[in-house]
């Protein structure tokens, strides 16, 4: 899952170093269009639907936080 997520992130925003960034939302790096595109892409490739209530900065500020969210949703 981790490598696929990385692939998706890099396809959507190749200009960002996702290993280093921890302020993707709070720092204004990803906007709402990026988030929705990301959710659609994750749904298409990983078959995980992220509900609207999870679209909060804490879950999207870093690749690591996003991975944690996906693992949690996958378990549920």
């Amino acid at each position: 899952m981790e490598s696929e997520l990385r692939e998706i992130l890099e396809e959507i925003r190749p200009d960002i170093n996702f290993d280093a960034e921890t302020q993707l939302i709070d720092g204004g790096i990803l906007d709402s269009f990026d988030i929705v595109t990301l959710v659609a892409e994750i749904n298409a490739r990983l078959d995980i639907a992220i509900p609207a209530e999870e679209l909060i900065p804490e879950n999207f500020n870093s690749a690591e936080a996003l991975l944690e969210l996906l693992e949690r949703l996958d378990e549920e």
């Binding site: 200009d15 204004g28 906007d31 709402s32 269009f33 988030i35 929705v36 595109t37 959710v39 659609a40 892409e41 749904n43 298409a44 639907a49 992220i50 509900p51 609207a52 209530e53 679209l55 909060i56």
Partner: protein
């Protein structure tokens, strides 16, 4: 009760003394009483709406919370006897019950809001339809209805989403819904943002109180010295005869008026709350320095657009039907098809925001133009970046300034729709920019026929320069913090000049109504 009235200052003075003199435990109770007193000044007729929203939100959130707790307790109790599928089904059923309660409260409240907006805001429209009585029409839209309703409905959804806890004390909820500084025109707070500072005890903090008063003073300056003064010319320039360059001047004047009026009102609200130790969210972040329209909407009326994003744009864009549409679109049209939910979500959000401003075509046009500009600029971003990487001037300051001015003018073209309910008139005026070159209005005496004297123009110029300077200083952080570093003689000198400017230069013509903030009507 207007913020800019002697009554309000007496009210605030008494409140501050009681707030810090009485036991701090009852501070929030005092705020609740003060908020209701403030609201009653607007008219007792409006009270039932506020109380209804509070009670329905209270019942809804508490039902959702009890339902979630009961379901959790049941699952815990029966964890050894239920299969994974049974647990999932039970959870889904419990969630469905909560969802029904949430939707019920949402629908009833939104229906009331729409009913009031459709029938009460525009009496002439209603009269034309002949569907209601005159006495009822005289009610007008309950003060701040949109704002307290946004706040309550956001809270209801947050409780449903398990992102906020349901308040067991209905009076605390009543305070969250009615906190008076926010009632006039926002900002709209999220419960989790406001909860701590609204309900906790506040000791007398000289610095916070001084900062709050300074913020209020700055708000009054923007509202009364700049916005209310330039309003006269904005009104005059809407005449049929003012086309071409005169329309361009109207756009600039209206941009100044709208910003000074709205952000001034928000400064006053945030300042009052700060005096009382309550932290309200910021609603503006130097919006006229934005590089594109999307950037502008991240910096103008921030709390409304955060609300729209959180509770309308995201739920629509990531809903199941949208994700299915995205999957299909992806197969047929690639990247463009995959982003269909983004386009639909953006379109519906902006149309909704336009309609929320009022049931008029020019508001719908306003929403549509915003949507188009944002989507086009977003889709062109890769092309821009490619262009920037090849052309070296893109990194120069001149290009930044070009982007800022371009966005400012584009936003002016969109914002000015506010003033022209008749679309044909708006399009006619915009078109006149391309063929009426009446620059002579600057020196042929036209400008002095707009209700402003030469002195007024000088005051306005000083006000705008000051607002610009403050925006520049803000880039390095809080202006008030930076002011603390200058000698206190100069600091007090500045504050006294500002106080005298508001008292002596504030616009107080005949029939002047300082309470009439532009955004109040929404």
């Amino acid at each position: 009760m207007s913020f800019a009235s002697v009554t309000f200052f007496v009210f605030l003075g008494i409140l501050i003394i009681l707030y810090y003199a009485l036991p701090h435990k009852i501070q929030w109770v005092l705020l609740l009483v003060a908020s209701y007193v403030f609201y009653l000044f607007a008219g007792w007729k409006y009270l039932p709406f506020l109380v209804f929203t509070t009670i329905s939100t209270y019942l809804g959130t508490n039902y959702i919370s009890r339902n979630a707790e009961a379901s959790k307790a049941y699952l815990e109790r029966e964890k050894d006897h239920l299969s994974k599928e049974d647990k999932k089904a039970y959870r889904a059923q419990a969630k469905k019950r909560s969802r029904i309660a949430m939707i019920l409260v949402l629908v009833v409240n939104i229906a009331i809001l729409f009913f009031c907006k459709a029938l009460l805001v525009d009496p002439f429209l209603s009269l034309a339809k002949g569907n209601t009585s005159l006495s009822f029409l005289t009610l007008g839209l309950p003060m701040g209805m949109s704002f307290y309703m946004f706040q309550s409905l956001g809270y209801l959804i947050d409780v449903y989403r398990d992102k906020a806890k349901a308040l067991k004390n209905p009076f605390k909820l009543a305070l969250f819904v009615s906190f008076f500084p926010q009632l006039v025109q926002g900002p709209i707070s999220q419960f989790t943002e406001l909860e701590e500072s609204l309900f906790s005890e506040h000791a007398f903090d000289r610095k916070q109180i001084a900062f709050g008063l300074q913020r209020m003073l700055w708000g009054f300056f923007k509202k009364m010295v700049v916005a209310d003064r330039i309003a006269v010319a904005v009104q005059a320039l809407q005449g049929e005869e003012y086309r071409g360059f005169a329309f361009f001047i109207l756009m600039i004047f209206f941009a100044i008026q709208l910003y000074a009026d709205f952000s001034g009102g928000i400064d006053i609200a945030i300042g009052i709350a700060q005096v009382l130790g309550v932290k309200l969210p910021e609603n503006f972040n130097r919006p006229y320095f934005s590089r594109n329209i999307a950037d502008f909407w991240r910096r103008w009326h921030i709390t409304l657009f955060q609300w729209m994003k959180r509770y309308i744009f995201y739920p629509i864009s990531v809903s199941k039907p949208m994700l299915n549409l995205s999957l299909k679109g992806r197969k047929k049209f690639g990247r463009f098809g995959m982003r269909i939910p983004v386009y639909i979500g953006t379109f519906l959000t902006w149309m909704g925001t336009g309609i929320w401003h009022g049931f008029h075509w020019h508001f719908i046009l306003w929403g549509f133009l915003n949507c188009i500009f944002i989507v086009v600029s977003e889709e062109l971003t890769p092309a821009y970046e490619k262009f920037h990487s090849r052309v070296s001037f893109s990194n120069k300051k001149g290009y930044d300034i070009f982007q800022i001015i371009r966005t400012f003018l584009l936003m002016n073209l969109i914002q000015i729709t506010d003033l022209f309910p008749r679309l044909s008139e708006y399009f006619g005026k915009v078109a006149s920019l391309t063929y009426v070159f009446n620059f002579h209005i600057l020196w042929d005496g036209t400008m002095t026929k707009l209700g402003l004297t030469g002195t007024d123009y000088i005051i306005l110029l000083c006000g705008v320069v000051l607002m610009f300077a403050v925006s520049m200083i803000q880039r390095k952080g809080s202006v008030r913090e930076q002011m603390l570093k200058i000698p206190c003689v100069i600091r007090y000198g500045i504050l006294f000049i500002m106080i005298f400017a508001v008292i002596l230069l504030g616009s107080y013509g005949i029939g002047y109504d300082a309470s009439a903030f532009i955004y109040n009507q929404f």
